[in-house]
């Protein structure tokens, strides 16, 4: 049985991981290799690393950073930002990426999707769509949400699939950083239009929103950026919550949070005193592989 995926989207601006709000305001978090190391140890299913300053600065992807990050990453690493030619993709894969994300380049020249999937296979190419809701309709925007294209996300997702994209990474600009949950209507529309996996992103404030993404949005995988930072064991807690609510999740980490209760936001509740007291006498061996 295929487990559902929980994905961390790390937004990297000028070499540091940031929390992003509405694609325009940013809060610094720290170095990407450290964020990746923690998320990997906490059993994240996949990491999507988006370098949002590469395209505006008109530079190539930061290969040295990807190489540093990949040393700490034993989960699948998908890299985006600054990819405009097939050579960029080849170099990224050489430097430790496992899949790549294209956004601006795919909007400007869709043949890049086709070329990339011919060389590296469909499964390697993820197409990211940043969507803004404006005047009663959805619109795909390029260049970190700054250039409106006038194109409809549903038809663009279909087009991307036809050209050979392996997955759609769907992000909502209006929801980004507002902790109000996914744009479920948008996700559902895109999921129903294509037969490739769709990753929902944008707006997660707590584990409850991941559940909505799966149940109401029908997303194949759920992603969040800001949620994962500054919360202890954030991926494990979210997975335990989802598992408790009937979603198939992979929990391979040492701490599993089974037996915990969750509040209405999906945060863990304190265990009773007796359980906590007994914890002191339990032996917690460290596994050596």
């Amino acid at each position: 049985m295929l487990n559902k995926r929980l994905i961390a989207a790390l937004i990297v601006k000028e070499g540091i991981v940031v929390q992003s709000i509405g694609f325009c305001r940013y809060l610094p978090v720290g170095r990407p290799e450290i964020a990746v190391e923690w998320l990997n140890n906490w059993g994240i299913d996949e990491i999507v690393l988006l370098d949002i300053s590469a395209t505006p600065q008109k530079r190539d992807p930061d290969y040295a950073m990807i190489e540093r990050v990949s040393r700490k990453c034993f989960a699948p690493l998908t890299v985006g930002g600054g990819i405009h030619r097939v050579e960029h993709i080849r170099a990224l894969l050489r430097h430790g990426a496992d899949k790549i994300v294209v956004n601006t380049a795919a909007i400007k020249g869709p043949q890049l999707i086709q070329e990339a999937s011919d060389v590296f296979g469909n499964q390697c190419v993820v197409v990211s769509l940043d969507v803004r809701y404006k005047a009663g309709r959805y619109e795909v925007c390029g260049n970190s949400g700054q250039d409106p294209t006038g194109k409809d996300p549903v038809s663009m997702a279909r087009e991307a699939q036809r050209l050979g994209a392996g997955e759609i990474f769907l992000n909502s600009i209006d929801r980004d950083g507002f902790k109000e949950g996914y744009d479920l209507k948008l996700i559902r529309a895109v999921v129903e239009a294509v037969t490739i996996p769709v990753i929902a992103c944008g707006g997660v404030g707590g584990p409850r929103h991941f559940l909505q993404g799966f149940v109401e949005g029908k997303a194949t995988a759920v992603a969040a950026g800001n949620y994962f930072h500054f919360i202890q064991h954030s991926p494990i807690v979210a997975k335990a919550y989802l598992k408790k609510n009937g979603i198939d999740m992979r929990i391979d980490t040492y701490s599993q949070y089974d037996g915990f209760d969750f509040d209405e936001m999906g945060r863990i509740c304190k265990r009773d005193d007796e359980y906590l007291n007994n914890l002191r006498f339990q032996y917690q061996p460290k596994e050596v592989i």
Partner: protein, 220 residues
């Protein structure tokens, strides 16, 4: 004078044939403390004691690259003739097949009888097959000696290896039953990505390298 290369026999050669995430494999080997080399030169292949064929890519491109580098002959000779152990990952495993239908028709290495066919999307089955799927282990040796039952492994593919039942060592279910691990004597191929499989992936590599008696030489 004995050169370093003659002295050092405990290493694994990661074959770099142009498509593939071989740095991910190298990171894992480094983490587990094994000595390795990355090369696509004929003479390195003749000398190496064991091989890993990594792979992220399209079948046709991979076979063309192998042809261009003139590696099919030497690899087949070492693996089939001299029975050196080889581990194929994802596309590297699919290359063992006789042929593939991925974007046209391409001939493979033909080490294990079988064909590469496309997964067909249907209701609830999205293609490519991406994510952590639990696998049914049929043969525990050599890969699964260190892992618990029914482990979750990371898959990312839109084509699968359709081969005879006796070559299948593990299966997973995605619509239909597909081969997750194929093995025949010294040839082992995995459809999933153990180098991206977190702890389970590391345990799997440890089990495999123990079985081919590769020694740990130092941790990075």
């Amino acid at each position: 004078m004995i050169s370093e290369q003659q002295l050092v026999k405990d290493y694994v050669l990661v074959v770099d044939y142009g498509v593939g995430n071989h740095l991910s494999v190298v990171n894992t080997l480094r983490f587990l403390g094994y000595r390795f080399r990355v090369s696509n030169r004929r003479e390195d292949i003749e000398k190496a004691p064991s091989y890993i064929l990594p792979g992220v890519g399209a079948f046709g491109e991979a076979v063309n690259n192998l042809k261009k580098l003139d590696l099919i002959g030497p690899l087949s000779e070492q693996v089939l003739g001299r029975k050196k152990p080889v581990l194929g990952i994802c596309l590297g495993m699919q290359l063992f097949a006789q042929d593939s239908q991925e974007k046209g028709f391409h001939k493979g290495l033909g080490w294990i009888k079988g064909h590469i066919r496309a997964l067909v999307p249907e209701d609830g089955i999205r293609v490519p097959h991406v994510g952590w799927n639990n696998i049914d282990v049929l043969k525990k040796d050599p890969l699964f000696t260190q892992v618990k039952d029914y482990p979750a492994c990371y898959f990312d593919h839109s084509y699968y290896f359709d081969c005879r039942e006796d070559a299948v060592a593990a299966t997973c279910r995605y619509g239909e039953e597909i081969a997750a691990v194929v093995q025949k004597d010294n040839i082992v191929g995995v459809q999933f990505h153990p180098e991206k499989g977190q702890n389970n992936g590391l345990r799997l590599f440890r089990g495999y390298f123990n079985s081919i008696n590769l020694k740990v030489t130092g941790y990075a």
